[in-house]
């Protein structure tokens, strides 16, 4: 039954946590459907049975049973179960249980800074040295969204895919996105990954996902950000770990991002 609901039109889930969210959306919709169909059937019956021509004098008291009270309590209990059993843990997983680096370069989470600006997304990886290049808010400009200073050694291998340039992430490895914005509020949404996080200037907010399918995916902006809001599309690819290592090394060797902003 959940499969039917999922096929209702949601894009195929492509991340490890997506099925949990999808199942939850399914449970809530089943509850909604049962309540609606039940009440609606009662409603039609009542309208038909108690039309004035069939029932010329109304009954002063009406319903005497406590059925509806039990029903309300039932709904409250189910809501409580959904809340405690599903919504809170799912949320905690999404916003608190971040994958931790264990020192194994092949499985450690990859960190990426995501910057929104009118009307492009940019991504910034540390490069193979796992160290961020030096950044200064005063260096930030339209073409240097991360404000990379570009004079330090750590920044030499940083990988920057700026202004909508598609980036790549590996399959089956956690990606932690540190999301911010340089101008107005955007929202970083990857529908296929079931990831949404507002990109708010002055704040950096993390979100994480682990891709379970290779392919091309799109990032949409889910918060009105100006005249180009509807075309603020970003694209990225999920590739096999081997392919990703190769791409990463090539990008880093090419001087990555930092140098190119000089």
């Amino acid at each position: 039954m959940f499969e039917i609901l999922k096929k209702f039109g949601m894009p195929e889930p492509a991340s490890a946590h997506a099925s949990g969210i999808d199942d939850f959306i399914g449970y809530v919709h089943i509850l909604m459907l049962i309540l609606f169909v039940g009440w609606f059937a009662y409603y039609l019956l009542a309208l038909f049975k108690f039309r004035a021509s069939a029932n010329p004098r109304a009954d002063y008291t009406g319903v005497k049973s406590h059925m509806s009270t039990y029903l309300e309590i039932g709904v409250a209990v189910i809501e409580a179960v959904l809340l405690v059993g599903f919504a809170i843990p799912l949320w905690a997983r999404a916003v608190e249980e971040f994958p931790v680096a264990k020192g194994d370069p092949a499985t450690d989470p990859i960190e990426v800074q995501i910057m929104g600006q009118q009307f492009k997304w940019s991504a910034h990886f540390t490069g193979p040295d796992n160290k961020w290049g030096k950044q200064d808010i005063k260096s930030a400009s339209a073409t240097n969204p991360f404000g990379l200073v570009g004079t330090d050694d750590e920044g030499k291998d940083d990988v920057v895919c700026a202004l909508g340039e598609p980036f790549k992430v590996p399959l089956g490895r956690s990606v932690i996105c540190r999301i911010s914005s340089m101008d107005v509020i955007h929202s970083f949404k990857i529908p296929s990954m079931r990831v949404t996080q507002d990109a708010i200037p002055g704040m950096t907010i993390p979100a994480h996902f682990k891709a379970t399918q290779v392919g091309s995916f799109s990032i949409t902006c889910a918060q009105l950000c100006g005249s180009g809001h509807s075309v603020m599309r970003g694209d990225f690819e999920v590739v096999t770990p081997e392919e990703w290592e190769k791409w990463y090394a090539e990008k880093a060797a090419a001087g990555g991002g930092a140098g190119s902003f000089e």
Partner: protein, 598 residues
Amino acid sequence: MSTATSHSHAPAHGHAVDHHHEPGFWQKYIFSTDHKMIGIQYGLTSLFFLLFGFILVMCMRFQLANPEAPIPVFGKLLELILGDAAKGGSMTADLYNSFGAMHGTIMVFLAIVPLAFGAFGNYVTPLQIGAPDMAFPRLNMASYHLFFWGGVLMIASFFVPGGSAKSGWTSYSPLATVAEFGKPFNGQTMWLIGMVILITSSLLGAVNFITTIIQLRAKGMSWMRLPFFVWAQFVTGFLLLLAFPPLEAAGVLQLSDNLLHTSFFLPNGLVVSGQQLPVSGGGSPLLWQHLFWFLGHPEVYVLILPAMGIVSEVIANNTRKPLWGYRSMVYAAMSIGFLSFIVWAHHMYLTGMGTKVSTFFQTTTMMISIPSVMILTALFVSLWGGSIRFNTPMLFALAFLPMFGIGGLTGLPLGFNASDIYLHDSYYVIGHFHYVVAPGTIFAMFAGIYFWFPKMTGRYMNELLGKIHFWISLIAMNLVFAPMFIQGMRGMSRRMADGGTAYYGADDIALTLNKSITHAAVLLGLGQIPFIINLFMSIKNGRKVENDNPWKATTLDWATPTPPPHGNFAAEPVVFRGPYEYSAPGSKADFLPQDQKS
């Protein structure tokens, strides 16, 4: 007594009849202090804004179905009025955003709230509690005039350079500040000044309603004898009084950000279009959201409580039986009032909220669904055992129940934050709140108009036109809003000027639905023509009412002469019983008016 016809110029035998002579045109229609005239002023003005907001969204819907194509006929007119923003008759993305922001603002603050609270509240509340007028008639007049000029300012903002506000009806900072940065007098500035005026108007109204309901109830009208409509208005008054001031303050702060380049809502290091923004920074964009939604969520109940009030009156009257669980409905309305102040941040789940805070807000959100369900349940259960008359007001009131039900139920996956991760800011949200407000609240407003029209004019509205209006509206509303749930499920984000073409192949269902929704919206627009004809034709040509109480109702509003004169009641009413004594055992008539001794 109340079924006998009495004339509006009945011989004086009470405090209510005024002895001064007939006021002139300006005094009577423009600067009136009579709550009924002010109610009608509010009603006509807000119906105009309802139509205006609808025309804005029709332009947007055309754009969504046919991105970048010129709007037929109307596009030329737009180009004539707005110039380059509608060049060649098609909308720029900026104009789309303008219309979007103004559609929301106008529908919420200039159409629905003034219709629900200003029009029905003003006209009906004093009548139902047996008062000769509002407690502060001049304040009431001031409140309408502020509302009117606030509305004029909002419309005028379309004509300033750069066009009207275009940062959504929520006007999130920093976008609202940087959108036209450096232009001191832009659409956003006018929006903020307009909002401050509108809020002031609402505050005056709220104080007036609360005072009136507490102080001016007729003899014998104890709290639990108040019609549910009055309770709904009473709670609404408190919501407006307590929720609006934070937004008024926030509006002034944002105005200062825009004009004086302060940084209440602007953080450090903003780089806009490649330029460091010349402001000091240090502010918080989230502060605006908190202040906005602290109003924004109680505002939702400002939209819905008066609607529930109207529906309750119409349902009690047309089932010919008391409302089931009247007391529980009153307590539920009060609980909604309290809880609505502690749910606001569920609009902000994705602003980086931790588990503890979000757990608090989603728990309160689930809690507030319970009193809403209680009121809806009470209305559903009230049908059982009734003797149901299917006249036009009743059709609209009955349709409100399942339509508001859909609106409420689809709030669940948005209120739970886990599902909101995916559905946030998608078309699912648009579908959800439009079900609450359009086939929900607006249907209740229509029910109210058809129901109280005979009291206001002494004539019925036409039943056939009314039924045509009802059925077309019901079908079209569902064809417009139900497909939005599918679009949202498919991941379509809201506020996309191109209707989502940048993300989907042209053959995607989500885009196909854009076209079908637009067709349904045209149908919805056409369906309102019989209503407009009916409303104006019936004033002079409608069937005359047989007596002062044509629906055989129990509440005091029907114990007045028709239409009620200045001062309302021919004699000071005294209340002997509860509001809904229909089909009481032992009584021959199937209704016992509140002011009838036995």
